[in-house]
């Protein structure tokens, strides 16, 4: 695909959104504002398309924009911030990478990761899948899930931790298989 233009921009959005959103979250942005900031980054990038150097990686470029937007959150007063905590964002921003010549960013290949994760979800036992749906689809907190399932909140947290670990291992395994092929 050639460089981004107003005409093909949506294709770039489709290709990079998953990784960008995950990247934004990884900087300590509150979950409810992740897409908001990712969209802002895409909008800023769109408005500055004429500044984009086509020899560069679009993902790294828009990540840099998003990182600046997150850094800007630090300057806002507490009520307007979209991040969990300044100090957490400080350290997470510091350890993040936006340059294509640095190590791969964790959120790179977001679309491939999404596909692998989706596949892994289907392999989960039904009870585990219900737990994940409750937490991520219905946004239920651990104590609420515990109430509904007549469990204790720590047990729910532990169960969620185990399911997440299993999904992570499954996803990484699938990505490794794809890379080997």
């Amino acid at each position: 695909m050639s460089g981004p233009t107003p005409e093909n921009y949506v294709q770039f959005v489709r290709q990079y959104h998953a990784g960008l959103r995950a990247f934004v979250r990884s900087l300590g942005v509150l979950p409810m504002w992740v897409d908001d900031i990712a969209q802002e980054a895409f909008i800023v990038a769109y408005e500055r398309l004429d500044e984009f150097d086509e020899s560069r990686d679009f993902g790294a470029w828009v990540r840099g924009i998003a990182r600046n937007l997150v850094i800007n959150e630090r300057r806002k007063d507490a009520r307007r911030k979209r991040i969990l905590a300044d100090n957490l964002t400080d350290i997470l921003v510091r350890t993040s990478s936006v340059q294509e010549d640095e190590d791969e960013e964790l959120g790179d290949y977001g679309t491939a990761r999404l596909a692998a994760l989706r596949d892994c979800l289907t392999q989960l036992p039904e009870k585990s899948r219900d737990l994940i749906k409750a937490r991520y689809e219905k946004d239920e907190a651990a104590p609420d899930i515990a109430d509904r399932l007549q469990m204790k909140a720590p047990a729910v947290r532990k169960a969620l931790e185990r399911v997440r670990d299993a999904l992570k291992r499954c996803m990484e395994e699938k990505l490794r298989c794809v890379a080997e092929v």
């Binding site: 489709r14 995950a22 979250r25 979950p31 630090r74 957490l88 969620l160």
Partner: protein
Amino acid sequence: MTTDDSQFQKWVGDLLDGELEAADRDALARLCEARPDLARRLRDELELAEMIRQIARDEWGEAAFSEELGQRLRGGTIGVDEAPELIQRLLDGDLTDEQLRSLVTLCWRDGAIAAEVRAALIQDDLLHQVVAGARSEAAFVEALETRMWAEQAEDQFVSSVASKIVSMTPAGTGTVSIPLVPVAETPVRPRRERLPVTSIIALAGGWAAAAAAVVLLGMAIQFQPKPGAPMESVAEVTRVRDDVRWQVEGAPVEDRYFAPGRYALESGVITVTFGSGAEMTVEGPAEFEVRGEREAFVHSGVAVLAKNDAVANGGFTLGTDALDLGESGETIGLVANGAASAEAVVFDGESEICLPRLGFCRELFALEPVRADLRREKLFDIPYNPGVFAKAWQANAGIQGNTGPLRVALPGETPLTDPQPKAGEVRLSVEKIRFVAAGEIEVDTLEPGQFAQVSAGDGRKLDSSGRQLRSYLLEWDAATGTLTKDGEPVEASVTFDHEIVGVIYSPERLADSDDLVGAAGDGLLAARGQSAPGSGDQILLSDDRRTVNLKLSGDGGDRLDHVRVLVALN
């Protein structure tokens, strides 16, 4: 630990506390020169201390700062093995402030933990994207397209909104979060026969007067329904516009009295006055609930709410399936689209908007339109389009009707944003929706019932003490003379719901009353008022003091261009 190490630790502690003696400082410098590993540790400690200082200055406060620094200097009491538990709690949104500080300390101490946190957050977000339909690729792209359209639309209101910084706060941090009350779905009901159009004057003169009396008596007391009204009534229809039709079983008692319940307006425009003094104008088709004297819920349709005395009387809550509006904000416009979405704009004052199902609130500035979309789990800024509220706004503003080239300005359209009326029109704006004059206001003398030549002349003092007034401004571009047709005078009139208690057209009296109504005044308005005799412009105040009629001749000389009309709300 060697002697050098322990001495180093002490000196660093003193240095960071600002208590290091000069001799010890030299000794520390020599030690660092001899021990590159200690020099590196010193750099790290200073860097960390500076970061913690900045953090402390920003939000933690001195106590947290000291605690963190002390912890770091003691070598830290938080174990690395606590990191997984803290990360899981971060993902679950269960971290306490103390746990968050511990996690941050661990991240600063060990870069691998920071990387682990980031990896966990990435994994968590990807999982959320896969599981939550509202975060699907399609939803994201669609939402992005909407934002791009909204933020790039050529709209003067969008520009002004864009300049405002949006503030958002999670629920439960001092903002208002109003729980939704589940309401059973109303089955589709057969249509009723069409009802005759009821005159607004008949209703306003009867029941509105009773409601106004209640306002005067103080809104803290329980609502006293009109004799004959059901005792459980908490609100009543006080004005109607157009052909009002209700659905069968969705109508108030006698098409007028509201007990708490759900109602379905098929067509027309009604104004409901609540016991608290709030007025909600609804344009059909609409479904809404009256939940009490201080609460309404709109399921679908267009509504404009004026809180009036309810602002100072326990507040008034207006909700929809998608959003709730907080206690502040005097006049609010709302478009509800069932469970899917709702749009809101505060016309007057500021408000708080809450999306209970998404668990957050944020501030809503005046004239900042937003759309809450539950399918996308988003709150969007949208272009300002007051036209959708035109009918409800006019009814809510107490403008009963108008004739001739007279146009009612929409909210947000003021002499400041739109300095000149359009060519050939007389523009009518609500200058100040409700105020109590601090003292006497001088108005021009105008006898009801007969056209009078407009000329600067006698005035009279309007005793307005304690009275709630509303101010309207009639204005047109007198200089161009575009109002006259073939030299014939042009007539325009407007009828108000409330009694006119004063008319002001002379420049001095206009200027004197500007501050009172928050008008821009002479500095921004090039020419105003009429002072020269013989201009030919005429004005009529009707016998019932509800209508102002203008006859604009367009003769030479200065011509009338502004008329301020004051009505009494009580």
